[in-house]
């Protein structure tokens, strides 16, 4: 824990990550109370259709005259909910599979890992697309689909960590004392694996946020909600690029980028704190 605090204290990237994620988290919570408009409210006048940014609509409007700033603010909550829940599913499934495979070893490990490998050889976007288009475009299904395709990485990381801890002498010592497998997993393996799982979770969250954007962009988002990906999808469908309506897709894209950047900064900083190999400047004595 001390090394994590130290890493965030010394890394400007790590601090920036915490700040960015913090701001968006606040926005997700209070968003609906501060949004200037109802994001679904269409325009009454013609000049409010695809209007460029103005004092009335700071980020302009879409082809139905809806306020884009409000859409982006509402989208924050949806995007973060999807990102965090999908990451939670992925990490829980991945950790269970990884620790089981790593600790039990042998045929269980071989089967689970072959299974993981075959998942890895499938582009996760393709898998997610198929799952969502078969199950229907709802928020829950999107979370489930992303979670179910993102678990492989968590599984690999926890497995390799479990394998290396299992070989550590203190585990052998516990066995020599007569400890059973459950005791060893609980007392020795998990406490050493969990920090990595936690670091991995931040990375998976950013991947999940990107995945949601991908799915939405491909027309598989939940049509009853605004997420950043869906806003860009609408912009794409409207042909915002060719008519030069940059305000339509720029803000949502920048938000995605910032949040992913924030989570990545955090994940990098955690990685460096937990993986001494990445640290530099040791003394040679």
């Amino acid at each position: 824990m001390a090394e994590i605090r130290e890493a965030f204290r010394t890394s400007p990237f790590g601090k920036a990550g915490l700040v960015i994620v913090g701001i968006f988290a606040v926005l997700a919570i209070i968003g609906p109370y501060i949004a200037p408009y109802d994001p679904w409210k269409t325009a009454d006048q013609l000049e409010d259709i695809l209007a460029p940014p103005s004092w009335r609509h700071p980020l302009g409007t879409d082809e139905l005259g809806r306020d884009i700033l409000s859409q982006v603010i509402y989208g924050t909550r949806i995007t973060l909910i999807i990102g965090l829940s999908a990451a939670a599913i992925a990490v829980v499934v991945g950790t269970v599979v990884g620790v089981t495979a790593g600790y039990l070893g042998g045929p269980v490990d071989a089967v689970l890992m072959r299974f993981t490998d075959s998942f890895l050889s499938m582009p996760f976007i393709v898998l997610a697309i198929v799952i969502v288009s078969l199950m229907g475009r709802s928020l829950g299904n999107i979370i489930l689909a992303i979670g179910l395709v993102q678990w492989t990485q968590a599984a690999r990381i926890t497995r390799s960590q479990t394998l290396s801890i299992k070989e550590r002498v203190f585990v052998l010592r516990a066995r020599a004392l007569g400890a059973g497998p459950l005791y060893i997993m609980r007392r020795h393996i998990l406490p050493n694996v969990l920090p990595l799982v936690f670091a991995n979770m931040t990375l998976v969250t950013s991947l999940a946020i990107l995945s949601e954007a991908f799915l939405s962009f491909l027309g598989l988002g939940d049509p009853t909600k605004f997420s950043w990906g869906i806003i860009i999808r609408y912009a794409f469908e409207t042909g915002a690029v060719s008519i030069g309506a940059w305000w339509y897709f720029l803000p949502a894209g920048i938000c995605i980028m910032l949040v992913v950047l924030g989570f990545s900064f955090i994940s990098n900083t955690l990685d460096e704190a937990l993986n001494p190999k990445l640290r530099r400047g040791q003394v040679v004595i």
Binding site: V169, L172, R173, A176, G178, P191
Partner: protein, 322 residues
């Protein structure tokens, strides 16, 4: 009766050769029919170079390995066949201290949890006094200073003392010491060696002391078994074996020990691959005194004097000093 009686102990490891491990498994015989006995309150040193099977023997004696053959009798009961409660009872009475104190302590646990762990595993109500006594015995005083520390806050010697305290807390009878001082600096090592000797006297402990350092075994052990490629080539009273060695390998090993003052017998080449051990006497390809019959069959064990035995054909037919 001896506390520990090992008869014909064999340890093998499955070898994974690349991807073919999925198709066929081969076994490497790390320990081949090793026998010895360890009386109460005494120390037996297993010495030899890396890969000679001494550590495997130590782990096998505690029932920690798979693919083990032979018998390991602890107070007359075969450890290899113990299950359930009886096994747990044995685990209480036999403990191990490992080589690397950096590795053998869980970095996420405080000293209190590490030393108290054996109590917890055996469902013994841990009282504070017992913890303190164990730390005290291991020379960690005052105990309060150490109880709330994490391993990384301690020096190498202190960590090894924590490991020893954790091994002592259940009042064991047998301690397997697997190279307990090999990673320590000389001045710290000396303290641990003294401690081990004091503890033996005070608690009447029996040690199975695994080491590559002949001088260390000379300091701590009553008896010595010299191992080469999974086989004991010579064993007996420490002074007998290390001052009047008979087996050519023991002689060579002693001669190259720094500071032995003996004329060097430097064997060329490396220890053969244990996957393909040489036929006959395993030492013959490097033996300065090898002859034809050494290739033909492995030599039997010859008792030169009570307790001092050697595996060498030259000793079998005592024509001359081999």
């Amino acid at each position: 009766m001896a506390l520990l009686e090992v008869k014909g102990l064999t340890v093998s490891y499955p070898v994974a050769v690349g991807l073919s491990a999925f198709i066929s498994r081969r076994f490497l015989v790390a320990v081949d029919r090793v026998s010895f006995s360890l009386p109460e309150g005494r120390t037996l040193a297993l010495v030899g170079e890396s890969g000679c099977g001494k550590s495997s023997t130590g782990l096998a004696v505690l029932g920690l390995l798979e693919h083990v053959g032979g018998e390991v009798l602890f107070r007359g009961k075969d450890v290899l066949r113990l299950r359930g409660k009886a096994l747990k009872e044995f685990r209480r009475r036999a403990q191990i201290v490992f080589q690397d104190p950096y590795e053998s302590l869980n970095p996420k646990m405080k000293v209190r949890a590490i030393v108290g762990e054996p109590l917890r595993i055996h469902g013994i109500r841990g009282d504070e006094g017992r913890l303190r006594r164990a730390l005290d015995l291991a020379g960690l005083s005052p105990p309060d200073y150490f109880l709330e520390k994490y391993p990384h806050e301690l020096s190498g010697g202190e960590r090894q003392r924590v490991a020893i305290a954790a091994a002592l807390i259940l009042d064991p009878e047998l301690l397997v010491l697997d190279e307990p001082v090999s990673n320590l600096d000389v001045s710290i090592k000396a303290g641990i060696m003294n401690l081990l000797r004091d503890l033996q006297e005070e608690l009447k402990l029996s040690y199975l002391f695994i080491t590559h350092d002949l001088a260390d075994s000379f300091f701590l052990s009553h008896e010595v078994a010299v191992m080469y490629l999974g086989v004991t080539v010579e064993q007996g009273e420490t002074e007998e074996v290390l001052l009047h060695p008979v087996h050519p390998y023991t002689k060579a090993l002693l001669s190259v020990a720094p500071g032995s003052g003996r004329e060097k017998v430097i064997l060329s080449g490396d220890v053969p691959d244990p996957l393909h051990p040489p036929p006959g006497c395993r030492f013959h390809p490097r033996c300065p005194a090898a002859e034809k019959r050494c290739v033909e069959a492995p030599p039997g064990e010859v008792e030169l004097s009570p307790g001092h035995s050697v595996r060498c054909v030259k000793a079998e037919s005592p024509r001359e000093e081999p």
